[in-house]
């Protein structure tokens, strides 16, 4: 990714998605201005071929943008919309202009869907096919707007899709999981930066807590999780919009495990200040927990990968992992 483009995207996020603007959205405020800014920026079509008016980038190219979305705790399905628009474009379906959520309804008629509270449309995996719905096709409830950023969607029996497309393989959950992994990678990196900075400033017992060996060791462990989440994300993005189940599993298993660990260590380092609403850390750690669970947590994907590996059978571990996310 061109550094200039990335800087431009960062500037956009700083302009329209400051911590206070996120708070306003979480308190029920409108996302209209924020969304319009994304729409006008052209980034939402980054994954659309140039011939069709997009930027013609691949998933690995835009991964750094996804990381920035996570690092800024953007409360909108921006990554999901970029992915959704590309999938719809491939099927020659016109994308709606509003935010697009990605829902896996292969196992139940109802699901917790990340950012669905801010979406106008839903691209849903129905098992035998994927389909685009308006939000009116669902009963939507929000179990807890602070605890989890999204909605529970239950598809109405009379819901009529706007358009249908073939079955994405290995399912929308896989690409959704990769998008979450990338946002986790970005958010954990930002949380590490905040924690290191805080440990350097915060004086206790006469010296910065960052001088305590135990705190240093914990921050080193946090850094290791950040490296793992970042690398797993790259593996998940290596296969483009149709990740293999294996690559998606690596990405989300590792990133979800990192999400919980990083959030826990960050709060332990920040102490009481981290619990307060007005300190920004919590915007990121709450998001980390939400991203961890969305599209399957670490055990879901560990099991999926284990099943896939046992089905393939008898390959050595080294050969098996060499084939995942090979670039």
């Amino acid at each position: 990714m061109d550094d200039l483009v990335l800087d431009h995207f960062r500037k956009l996020l700083e302009d329209v998605c400051s911590p206070n603007e996120i708070r306003a959205v979480e308190n029920g405020g409108s996302t209209a201005v924020m969304w319009t800014a994304f729409q006008d920026s052209g980034f939402l079509d980054a994954l659309i071929p140039e011939a069709d008016g997009g930027a013609g980038l691949g998933l690995a190219d835009v991964a750094p943008l996804f990381l920035e979305l996570g690092a800024h705790a953007v409360p909108l399905p921006v990554a999901e919309t970029m992915i959704g628009r590309a999938l719809l474009g491939k099927a020659s379906i016109t994308s709606p202009s509003g935010p697009l959520a990605l829902a896996d309804l292969t196992l139940s008629r109802s699901a917790l869907v990340l950012f669905a509270d801010q979406a106008t449309h839903v691209l849903a995996d129905l098992g035998d096919r994927a389909a685009l719905f308006e939000m009116a096709g669902f009963e939507a409830t929000v179990p807890d707007s602070r605890g989890w950023c999204g909605a529970r969607l239950r598809i109405r029996t009379d819901a009529v899709p706007v358009a249908e497309l073939g079955q994405p393989r290995p399912g929308l959950r896989a690409i959704g999981a990769v998008a979450c992994a990338a946002q986790i990678a970005g958010a954990t990196r930002r949380v590490l930066d905040m924690s290191v900075a805080y440990a350097g400033e915060r004086v206790q017992f006469g010296k910065p807590i960052g001088k305590q060996q135990a705190v240093q060791q914990n921050l080193a462990v946090m850094a290791e999780h950040v490296v793992m989440a970042g690398m797993a994300t790259q593996i998940g993005c290596a296969d483009g919009l149709d990740p293999t189940l294996e690559a998606a599993a690596v990405a989300k298993q590792v990133a979800s495990a990192a999400a919980a660990a990083v959030a826990d260590i960050a709060h332990a380092i920040h102490g009481a200040i981290g619990i307060s609403e007005e300190y920004d850390l919590q915007l990121l750690t709450r998001r980390l927990h939400a991203l961890r669970l969305a599209h399957g947590s670490e055990s879901w994907w560990a099991k999926a990968l284990g099943v896939a590996r046992l089905e393939q059978g008898s390959t050595s571990t080294v050969d098996y992992i060499r084939a995942i996310g090979a670039v």
Binding site: G147, S276, G296
Partner: protein, 383 residues
């Protein structure tokens, strides 16, 4: 080297308290939604606290002449266990009952005992504890709030922060400096009872990441403290606080903060007929750990009952207990997010999310993990 942790039963007299309290709680708490009950000792319900006081469940270890029940720490264990098992909102009386009452009993004057203890035993007086100050956190000895002597008392200036429930409390027991400077650390500190309705006191609630207001900042601007608001001896504040921390670290509240979620998740497994290996194994693991932690907590209680001050033992319990409590939401979240075919109820999810957000606070209350482990290391002879 590690103190004694002996398995023991609770005395029959203590166990006898369980059934009637359970009946009372079924009436007053049973109907509350599970995510409200998940707040438990962070949940504020003045009417419940008065009901418990009237029924004789508060001031348990206080002498009868002050309105207490003159019972032993085992009885207190049973009462607290029942309250936490159902997630009763007990914040109103929690601190007064657990810490402030015993502190006033041990270090206060006869007049102070008569003035405060009966109200505590009735659940009518809400106390908070002023320890942390801005920029100090777990370094409690770096206190800057300062009370200067006047003719007939003291004038207090300064600030406390992260004070649990200050916005609801009648009184704060605060650790402040009465001589020397912050560089003197634990020297020159004293404890005062502060009437929070006094002129010059400002309380500003702190909104937390879960959207609740459990904590507050408290500002003191030339607050007058009469002579009889000093608790214990001038300059002895640090020793008194240390004694108090052992009480703070040893109760069953150090193992049960997530038990309402655990029960709600178990009910979810049953409702969904779930018998899968991962879920079953997780349920068994958490149950085994908690059974052991409960026995450890009773063993620490026995030390208190014997009149000892089990500082290292309480630190071991607290570090283990809060580690357990904090692990529960992360583990249950992973389980639920691995079963998208199930519809977890909104109430279960809200309980999970609330505890996920607040779990970091479990290891803050009464000292961070590093400090507790430092105390344990000292107990091992390493410091």
């Amino acid at each position: 080297m590690l103190g004694n942790f002996e398995l023991q039963g609770l005395p029959g007299s203590a166990e006898a308290l369980r059934a009637p309290l359970r009946q009372l709680l079924a009436k007053h708490v049973g109907h509350l939604p599970v995510d409200v009950r998940a707040r438990s000792w962070m949940g504020f319900d003045r009417s419940l606290s008065r009901t418990l006081g009237a029924a004789g469940y508060l001031g348990l270890t206080l002498p009868r002449e002050y309105g207490g029940q003159n019972l032993d720490p085992f009885s207190r264990f049973v009462i607290v266990e029942e309250l936490l098992a159902v997630g009763a909102p007990v914040a109103e009386h929690w601190i007064a009952d657990r810490q402030s009452g015993p502190l006033i009993l041990h270090f206060g004057t006869e007049a102070q005992r008569e003035r405060y203890l009966p109200g505590i035993a009735k659940g009518e007086l809400c106390f908070c504890i002023g320890m942390s100050e801005p920029g100090a956190g777990s370094d409690l000895a770096s206190v800057r709030s300062r009370a200067e002597r006047t003719d007939n008392g003291w004038i207090l200036n300064g600030q406390k922060i992260w004070t649990t429930n200050a916005q609801h409390a009648d009184y704060m027991i605060a650790l402040v400096r009465t001589s020397g400077t912050a560089a003197d650390r634990s020297e020159g500190l004293s404890q005062f009872i502060i009437d929070l309705k006094s002129p010059g006191v400002t309380v500003r609630p702190i909104r937390d990441l879960g959207g609740d207001e459990h904590f507050a900042e408290v500002f003191f601007e030339n607050v007058f403290l009469a002579e009889d608001m000093l608790v214990g001896n001038e300059g002895a504040g640090w020793a008194q606080v240390t004694a108090e921390l052992a009480l703070e670290r040893s109760g069953p509240e150090r193992i049960y903060s997530s038990v309402v979620l655990l029960d709600a998740w178990m009910a979810h497994l049953e409702a969904n007929g779930r018998r899968n290996e991962a879920g079953t194994t997780l349920l068994g693991r958490l149950t085994a750990q908690l059974a052991t932690l409960r026995a450890v907590s009773i063993a620490v209680t026995a030390h208190l009952a014997a009149g000892e001050r089990p500082v290292v033992e309480a630190s071991i319990l607290k570090d283990l207990g809060t580690g357990f409590e904090q692990s529960v939401p992360d583990l249950i979240a992973d389980d639920l997010a691995s079963h998208p075919e199930e519809d977890a109820s909104d109430a279960l999810l809200r309980t999970l999310f609330y505890l996920t957000m607040m779990a970091p606070s479990f290891s803050l209350r009464g000292g961070t993990r590093e400090i507790l482990r430092g105390i344990i290391a000292r107990g091992l002879g390493l410091r």
